[in-house]
Amino acid sequence: MTATELIKKVFFIEVLQGLALTFKHMVSHSVTRQYPTEKREPVPGARGLHALVRDSETGKEKCVGCGLCAAMCPSQCIHIYTSEGDDHKKVVDRYEIEVLRCVFCALCVEACPFGALALTDFFEYSGYTREEFYYKKERLLENWDKYMAGDKGREYFEKFWRPKAIDFRTPVTATSEERKSV
């Protein structure tokens, strides 16, 4: 052991260096957020509570009951019941989501061909019973009015409803070039 090593060991140099760092942090700006009183602005596109899109023209849900979201859902928490309406149109009788089973992967939003389902950025839902988390159609439509009304919903689908045509690699095969020339 050299003399400097001995001095370092006797005088606890490495411990003092660590202590100096922690003391420096004691007087610096705190990074902790005091959550319930101090809330962070939710990030656009954050995957929170579900909402069914309300069609501004008809005032009803945009959903046509094709069932793709239910087919896609990896935790199988979406239940759709449809029947035949007056003019042989499909009517969505019930649209229900078991929020407690949902894993918030947003694959249902990707699966929906109409953009009729969205995940809002609201995440502070809690309750005392299981029934409170069984969201039926009316509550899901209410969620849309509450959290996604106006431009917010439109922006959500513009930005996060993917993939879009610009995301794809333009085919460089012979057939595409032929198509261009024709």
Binding site: T22, P74, F114, A165, D167, R169
Partner: protein
């Protein structure tokens, strides 16, 4: 039950001759990083026998995968290693792409490399935080979480979720990154080496840290290979094996970086390897952001990727593809078997598929690094002190979600 356990050991005579105490450690022990249960036979404070019991977090992911199409399995892989779910998603997507023969665009490769390395940093930060906390350094825990929070915030801005990201897709990504996000990641990487230096100030030369980690849990290079170890644990023993260098995926061949190795194969060297990997990952992210090209993010593979949303309701073929892919999965999946490994922060994560040509895998097997490392835990612990078990568990960096699946 404990008595039968003692008698079922290999070295019955030794156990019978001494008065041993059986100690059940876990599954609710905070230092076992999840629900790992160790049954220890102790001679005083020395561990004579260590038996890990796993399976408390078994959810049957491999079996569930047999009943879901290839896209639906993606959220399940988030929950294997929930500390670095981005890497697991990527490992799965890369494996399925190899199986299907899809080649993803260059921009996607760059973005994937960036997020994989961010995930590696986030994972190592949590590892360092908990490992240091176990060994006795509380401050490191708090500092590490500060930086991990920054990375998780960036993930949330990227894809809307902090922990279970589900960001990559088969043949591409969920959505493109914007330039502001890349700038913020770049700013983070500029600051991060200074943070690493702070952690090192706190523990690198600290005498308590050195005494708790040096010469503990030593495993030689040959033995580490024989146990099937991978990742930082193997590299800590001096084997320069890294799946990122050995097989080609991402853009790791287009950026400059080194494989970090240790020498002695003890807890301290494994700690050093991960600390060096912080800086290597940091430099990979910086280089990727500097080089990232413009371009599309989805592969041109209409049989396997969801069609563009703006074409689904205008083009009949796109709509048919959309319906078939979601309800049945890709119908043109090639038959056969495929094993593809990627380097996740914990080691080599492999996905093995048996495909029978339908939209679902006939069998999916996950080769998880944590499971292999848990199996080697008795080798590391036996003959050492009870207190060193904590250091050993910390140093192999296991997560039981991945181990039990």
């Amino acid at each position: 039950m404990e008595d039968t356990h003692i008698n079922s050991g290999n070295d019955n005579s030794r156990i019978a001759a001494k008065e041993l105490m059986t100690l059940s450690m876990g599954p609710q022990h905070p230092a076992t990083h999840g629900v790992l249960r160790l049954v220890l036979d102790l001679d005083g404070e020395t561990v004579v026998k260590c038996t890990p019991y796993v399976g408390y977090l078994h959810r049957g992911v491999e079996k569930l995968a047999e009943h879901r199409n290839y896209m639906q399995i993606l959220p399940l892989t988030d929950r294997l290693d929930y500390i670095s779910s981005m890497s697991n998603n990527l490992g799965y997507c890369i494996a399925v792409e190899k199986l299907f023969g899809i080649e993803v665009p260059e921009r996607t490769e760059y973005i994937r490399t960036i997020v994989a390395e961010m995930s590696r940093i986030a994972n190592h930060l949590l590892w360092l935080a908990t490992h240091a906390l176990d060994v006795g350094a509380m401050t490191v825990f708090l500092y590490c979480f500060r930086e991990r929070e920054a990375i998780l915030d960036l993930f949330e801005r990227l894809c809307g979720a902090r922990l279970t990201v589900t960001y990559p897709r088969i043949g591409g990504l969920k959505n493109d990154v914007d330039s502001q996000w890349l700038e913020d990641v770049y700013a983070f990487t500029g600051e991060f080496p200074m943070r690493v230096a702070q952690y090192e100030t706190l523990i690198n030369k600290n005498r308590i840290w050195l005494q708790r980690t040096r010469g503990i849990g030593v495993i030689s290079a040959q033995e580490a290979i024989n146990w099937g170890m991978s990742g930082p644990v193997l590299r800590g023993s001096g084997v320069p094996y890294d799946v990122r260098k050995v097989t080609r995926y991402g853009v790791y061949d287009k950026v400059k970086w080194e494989v970090c190795t240790g020498k002695n194969g003890d807890v301290y060297d494994r700690y050093r390897v991960r600390m060096d990997e912080f800086l290597q990952s940091n430099s990979i992210i910086r280089q990727c952001i500097e080089q990232i090209p413009q371009g599309p993010i989805m592969a041109d593979a209409p049989k396997y990727t969801l069609p563009a949303k703006d074409k689904v309701l205008t083009d009949m073929e796109h709509l048919i593809h959309h319906f078939v892919l979601i309800t049945k999965g890709p119908q043109t999946a090639p038959e056969g078997e495929m094993y593809v490994a990627t380097e996740v922060p914990k080691g080599e994560l492999g996905f093995f598929f048996v495909s029978d040509g339908t939209g679902k895998p006939y069998r999916m097997r996950v080769r998880s690094p944590s499971f292999v490392h848990v199996s080697a835990l008795p080798r590391l612990c036996e003959g050492e002190l009870v207190a060193d078990i904590i250091a050993n568990i910390g140093s192999i960096d296991i997560v039981l979600g991945e181990c039990d699946r």
